[in-house]
Amino acid sequence: MKNRKKISAVPYLFLAPAIILLVIFNLIPAIATFKQSLFAEAARRGADPIFVGFENFLRIFQDPVFWKSAKVTLFFSLIVNPLQTVFALGLALIATQKVKGIGFFRSIYLLPVAVSINVVVVVWGLMVDPNAGLLNGILKQIGLMEQPFLTSPQQVLNTIIMIISWKGVPYWALFFIAALQAIPVSAVEAAIIDGANKWQLLIRITIPILRPIILFVLVADTIVNFTLFVPIQLLTQGGPQLASNLVMYETYRRGFIYGDLGSSSVMLTIMFFVILIVIGLQNLVLREKN
């Protein structure tokens, strides 16, 4: 009994470093943010912040800019997360094929992962520039109409999705490749002996085995995209007409440009709970039945 108790404490002690860091860098700031959302900044210097309860929340819930931002974020997430997951799975399936030249393909498809997001965004920004961009130059050369990639409210979000997916898809594909390589050969061989074609193999064998990985990629991708900031800051600043004004950028704008930490904290708190709910739902739908 005594020995067992000692052994059971060890895993927790091993986890302690990670837990301590999580508490310091995640939990405490999260609690501080929630606390800040309940206070209004004092108008005068030196005075203590004033406790206003949920007044900041009420103000934000009546704020049309926040709601527009929330709608943009929801639409963005509904498109970008499934899209990146499906494309990443597709890319992983291609990269694990045993065909001639696949080695070369495997070497180049990972290149976007190795480039910093800032560089990716700046270079793509130059390429989709409405006046002097490479893409419009190509469209013009082949006789097609030039496109307002970042300057049209209808196109801006699609352009952002394209840019971040260029970098994101190969990254998430890495997880699928690792999982695909771990699928037991016996299971595949048994299915082939039973007469399964490639499609049936994918639907009946591969995807069910990959289910936990799909869940992980979807959850992690959701968190990454809910907190997306760099492309918006560098390319659009939320415009045009707030069409790319994701909640994360609006949170930054209020907190760090306008100095309105109350509103900023409220938005972060709301986003925290929304992400929790979305991840909970994803878990519910995709978790193993047993």
Binding site: R44, V65, F66, D129, P130
Partner: protein, 463 residues
């Protein structure tokens, strides 16, 4: 047994790693303070003391040197270091360190750092419409006791008023401003158009008509010479005179009402004109790959509206014949021009308020003010004694320095200051976003309605 040993050993290693990681965080947090302390001691060591009588005297003299920090625009990084050196020679007990931030970041930096009760900044360069907001938040020390009556009387009255909040002078005027229409005279000649005289004022309609004639497009559809551009393409400072010329107000009652003001008919008309410049007539570039002054100085822009601070830039760098005219207005409308510029304020939490005030006084009056205008920002001075030199000194008789005389007169023609509101920071940012959207093709009325929504959202916290 052995396995158990290793398990405990690896656990201890893990815990040690955490301790090291936390220890590594510690010095990082206090780094700035340490650097400051090092800097001061380095300065003290560098002070030449060859004839000092005793070490104790040296130490006490060195201890009296106070370092103050001035947060200012990065765009002034070409300012002659002799300005600060002259001040330090006159005030040997004070050393001035400069921290430079680009214009786009300066306002939010002040907001964040002062909001967090930062004491590392002693003096700030403040864009004048923000002074009331800083006063409302109690961020600046009153400067009423800093200046003599003569010095106060020397400031332009409008600039002095703009630096005053709630009856106290909170920010000392250093510069004011106006705008001129700069034009490439060679381009006018090539297009066969008679350029406007220095005292002539084109209407906006005439300006854009000329811009269309002046624009040169190459064989591959690339624009070789743009017709027209504003220096600050989306800034309220630059664009509000459009609305002002059509009789529009800049803000409503109490500085917090915007519905019916910024989406009024005069705003929609002005914004539609702005839209047409970029999207219908296409005489100005939609992107900011090259800014207006650079386009102009490189000979790729025929007309530019910009401040008098560009006179010395163009005089030094433009290799073509250029001239200036007055700021345009709408036909049948009023003459309205930009005004307002930079003031100096002292952080109310400064640890060296007296030294900071001494610096503010020196730079905003007399020799310091003139040096800052000539060799610093080249902004238009806010001191009447310095401005008077435009009219009397022979150095301003001939172009391009004589353009300063034109600017001096233009500064008195319909200047309308930017709106006074505690929410000016939000007003400025949202104005810029709105006009950027219009510039790239958003319907003006729709964009102004969004501007109302956004401003009302932000102003709610001040009501």
């Amino acid at each position: 047994m052995d396995l158990k040993k290793y398990r405990w050993l690896s656990l201890i290693v893990c815990l040690l790693l955490v301790v090291f990681a936390l220890a590594a965080c510690g010095p990082g947090i206090s780094e700035p303070a340490e650097i400051e302390a090092d800097d001061v001691s380095a300065e003290e060591v560098e002070e030449p003391e060859p004839d000092a009588e005793s070490e104790s005297v040296e130490e006490s003299e060195e201890a009296e040197v106070v370092t103050i920090t001035w947060l200012r625009l990065a765009e002034w990084n070409a300012a002659d270091p002799k300005i600060i050196e002259t001040f330090e020679a006159e005030f040997p007990g004070i050393k001035v360190e400069v921290e430079e931030i680009p214009f786009s970041e300066l306002v939010s930096q002040i907001n964040l750092r002062f909001g967090a009760d930062d004491t590392s900044i002693d003096v700030i360069s403040a864009d004048v419409p923000l002074v009331s907001s800083y006063g409302y938040k109690d961020w600046l020390l009153p400067l009423d006791d800093v200046f003599t009556a003569e010095e106060l009387a020397d400031f332009l009255p409008a600039a002095l008023d703009a630096g005053t909040y709630d009856g106290s002078l909170l920010a000392a005027p250093v510069s004011t401003s106006t705008q001129l229409l700069y034009y490439n005279a060679d381009a006018f000649e090539a297009a066969g158009i008679t350029p406007p005289g220095q005292d002539e004022r084109l209407t906006w309609e005439e300006t854009i008509d000329a811009a269309q004639q002046l624009q040169v497009v190459g064989d591959d559809d690339t624009v070789e010479m743009w017709g027209f551009q504003w220096e600050q393409t989306t800034a309220p400072y630059q664009l509000l005179p459009l609305m002002g010329s059509l009789g529009g107000d800049y803000i409503g009652e109490g500085g917090l009402v915007v519905d019916g003001v910024v989406n009024s008919d005069s705003w929609i008309e002005a914004a539609t004109f702005y839209y047409d410049v970029f999207n219908t007539y296409k005489v100005a570039p939609q992107g900011d790959a090259v800014n207006g002054p650079d386009l102009f100085v490189n000979g790729n822009l025929a007309m530019l509206i910009a401040g008098p601070w560009q006179i010395s830039n163009f005089a030094d760098n433009a290799e073509f014949d250029w001239n200036v005219s007055r700021h345009p207005y709408f036909e049948g409308g009023d003459v309205a021009t930009s005004t307002g510029s930079w003031h100096l304020g002292v952080n109310s939490l400064s640890e060296h308020p007296e030294e900071a005030k001494a610096f503010v006084r020196w730079l905003s009056t007399g020799e310091g003010a003139e040096m800052w205008w000539r060799d610093g920002s080249h902004d238009f001075p806010a001191q009447q004694s310095v401005l008077a030199k435009f009219a009397t000194h022979a150095e301003f008789d001939d172009p391009p320095m004589s353009f300063n005389r034109v600017a001096g007169d233009e500064a008195t023609q319909g200047p309308i200051p930017r709106p006074v509101t505690v929410g000016y920071l939000e007003y400025d940012q949202i104005f810029r976003d709105t006009f950027q959207d219009i510039r790239i093709g958003t319907d003006p009325a729709e964009a102004l309605d969004t501007m109302v929504d956004r401003l009302e959202s932000e102003f709610a916290k001040y009501k």
